[in-house]
Amino acid sequence: MTITAEKPTTAATGRPPARRRRRSPVTWVRGGGLGALLFLVPMLLVFTAFSWLPIGESVVMSFQQTNLVTAPVFVGLDNFRTVLTDPLLWTAVRNTLWFALLALLLGYPVPLVAAVLMSEVRRFRGLYSALAYLPVVIPPVVAVLLWKFFYDAGPAGVFNTVLRVVGLGPLPWLQDSSTAMVSLVVEATWAAAGGTIIIYLAALTSVSPDLYEAAEIDGASVWRKIWHVTLPQLRGVLLITFILQIIGTAQVFLEPFLFTSGGPAHATTTILLLIYDYAFAGTLGGDYGSATALSVLLALVLAVFSAVYFRLTRSWGTS
């Protein structure tokens, strides 16, 4: 190994002096600089057109009045004023926070408990993870349309039939503003939990057996091992899944859009639904300025939140 590796390394170290010489365009091309740039062209084109430029345009557009017909006009902070004084905004913010909180209460502990249990399964572990992950690969639109049928509010609806068997219900599910949001969160949790379980399982296998053995020598029970070894060892991953879930739930769109279209009585109108409505649900042209203003505001809030979160938890995250 060392001998075969020797030759290429000397060949490699033979090049840098030539590279450090002052470079004319000719030597740059001969050295492969042009070739490298050509290979970068697809990425540069795609990212410029569909990532970098739109990000910049979004910021500019949030200060403009734009439609598809006339030239954009700068209107200062008007869009932000429109957005912030829209009474629906605060409904949407409240709903989004409510969704995020419910998703946290339901969606954060469930995958963790499931993963800790699954990591101790000795036989058919593949079956467990395959079953847990299956909902993740079902196309979200299909899942929502299927659950919409399950959520039928009549006494013969699928979930209401199940509830009747155990002597409960029937519940109005999506029809009532008090249960609609919970129904969305249950479906969203079902659809996403598998992915989180797999991440936790990977993290659990990397917990060093030495730590468990050390705890056992000190006479720790199973519960104490979970509390003092497993959870602290997972905290790095837990911190990240927490913030990823917050960022994800702040942008929930599909469930309220397809299940309830924001209803009943705006009980499930989320921030993304509002952005969509500003831009695309209007009768003519659409209010692109307000839509971009609100999306820029949302991005800023999320950025500030993440920055503060990582600052506060920095000492806690590293072991």
Binding site: P8, A49, S295
Partner: protein, 286 residues
Amino acid sequence: MNRGLLSSYDWRRPVVRRTARTLHAVLLVLLFLVGLGPVLWLAKSAITPTQDTLRDPLALWPHGVDLSTIATAWTRVQIDRYFLNTVLLAAGSWLVQIIVATTAGFVLAVLRPRYRHVVSGVVLATMFVPSIVLLVPMYLTMVHLSLIDTFWAVWLPSGASAFNVLIVQRFFANLPREVFEAARVDGAGAGRLFWSLVLPMSKPIIGVVSVFAVIASWKDFLWPMLVLPDPSVQPLSVRLPALQPFVELDVFLAALAISTVIPVVLFLVFQRLFLRNDALSGAVKG
């Protein structure tokens, strides 16, 4: 043997063993109900007459099996066309993503020009911008380029995935550099290096990116809905919600089942890619 939370001593204690076994059995039953249940229900109801499904949705065994619902969905509701659109959208998005990710990863990890850190930086930075910010400007770009109702409007933006570039670049960086240097000494140019060495050595990561690209494209809803307003070019995900009010329940459920087959089969065939999850957990830890 690689041990976990419970030691072999724990496993020998009856209390622990019994509790663990019970919990595992309960978990397995729950996973069957929650994970597989809806899929099986959909499969069953797709071939059950509407009346049976409505009267007793939880009947385990349908009274009549009606395979014609599948045929009706496929031909009369034109699921065949939307299915083809979905496949074409997935294929194009896959190709664009592979081209962008491998060429960019090749430059950043193998050719390594001086400006690579700047480029990686601006690519990675896009991961921190919520995609909602891009929605309106990208939509207007598509309008101005007259790409509305063409597949290009979906294919091209799918390439702008920083995550793809990141994992491909990481994989390329771990390829043995000696091989590249040796090939260079033998006079191989960048194109030769890319095509004859890097790509053949990178089948695993190309496989990962491919499977995730196809599944993601199959799942996509909001963007195709915006840029493909003409029903004749829409994929299943966009068409299904619009069809619901006009189609009978059994046929509609058959259409849902048809849309689920490809992703589920891909998952079952490439299970390891999804469940081992090196790429994803690596990115989360990184």
